[in-house]
Assembly symmetry: C2
DNA sequence: CTAGTGACCATTTTCGTCAATGGTCACAAT
DNA sequence: ATTGTGACCATTGACGAAAATGGTCACTAG
């Protein structure tokens, strides 16, 4: 009773604090520019005009700061997906846009903010909370879309909801998970289309 | 006009030769025991009682030897899949077994012959011919299964065959490709089942 | 002509060293 | 009590020299 199951970088000290926000801001700038490894905690301290030691009043470790940045990055992607889903009308279209947006923002992160992408990939590989809750949120959105499709009669209702969602989630995983996406970048165009078609065929009543 | 598109390790000298076979044999033993990187060409030479230079009469490079071993490994997996498919009766069952066997033998390689698995993963990552023809062969087998299913009326026939096969191939990719399989080892049990169900639902007439 | 090799070179890998980094803590200022 | 820091330690990373490795080639033996 004491150890967390899998390395959980935590923050400490006051949750709302201008210094905490300054740290995050500086970290975002430095990490995205120089990368996580090449940025030292001292760099961040200098950037906000405090000593290195003071940073540790707000974050448990350097990793915890990385976590915060990663969570922010992934939140942006989630937001884009939520917007895309909200814009679509039918459940089928919602699913298509969800998948497409997910892959596009992921690939965009890879090509335009490579350093941040690397953090996200590492996070996913280590099973950090930020990556976990990201995957969880994706699944929630997916569940909502599928349920809506079932209610409107657009999707079949024989298979248990959980099972359907789980299977579809497995199909998307290689493109949702930053760790795996990098091996499928050449499929960014076709995979979401082809796989959406296949999934929607499987969802047909 | 001369360069091959992507690094293609080739062999040279007589194709059938006892020394060539001895090299492959020694390489298989050494690679699987010490790994590709930790095995030197001199080690192989010593093992078969010839000089290092002689090895290069039969193989273009060390990588080419790795390729040969990799091809052998992947052939074994293909053979297992072909056996599994032949054993099954219905196209649906053929597909299920194909997927399951693929994942099982892949995971088996990872857990029991890790060093050989690493070579296969590297091969897949670099797009070596051995990995390519492995993927191609999988696709051929899959095509055959789907076509059989269509002919027997078990699978739908509206979607173009190529499109169907391509999409199903994309679904299996993360578990077929050694490079990606290692990130999905915790899903070895459920993924083939869940995904087979989904795919078969999508193939229903 | 075929089977086979030692000596050689350019590039990698290994390894030991030392500075840099992540992280802590006792303490100072307000 | 809160805000903040310099000094300190164990571990890690960078760096250059030295050793090992992949690969070639002129050459020998039969």
């Amino acid at each position: 009773m004491s150890e967390n199951e899998s390395s959980v970088p935590q923050s400490r000290g006051p949750a709302e604090h201008s210094v905490r926000e300054q740290i995050v801001e500086a970290a975002e700038a430095h990490f995205s520019h120089y990368g996580y490894e090449k940025t030292t905690v001292s760099d961040l301290a200098k950037a906000i005009g405090f000593s290195k030691a003071y940073i540790y009043k707000f974050f448990d470790s350097k990793q915890a700061i990385g976590e915060a940045i990663c969570a922010k990055t992934l939140s942006t992607m989630i937001a884009a997906v939520e917007r895309a889903v909200a814009d679509a009308t039918t459940p089928s279209e919602k699913f298509r846009r969800m998948f497409k947006t997910l892959v596009e923002t992921g690939a965009g992160l890879f090509f335009n903010e490579r350093k941040l992408y690397d953090i996200a990939a590492y996070s996913a590989g280590e099973g950090w909370p930020s990556a976990r809750s990201y995957c969880e949120r994706i699944r929630e959105i997916l569940t909502e879309v599928v349920r809506e499709g079932r209610e409107s009669g657009e999707f079949e209702r024989k298979t248990p909801l959980d099972e359907t969602v789980h299977a579809v989630d497995l199909v998307m995983q290689p493109y949702v998970n930053p760790l795996q996406l990098q091996y499928n970048l050449d499929l960014v165009e076709e995979a979401p289309v082809q796989l959406s078609n296949l999934v929607l065929r499987s969802l047909a009543p």
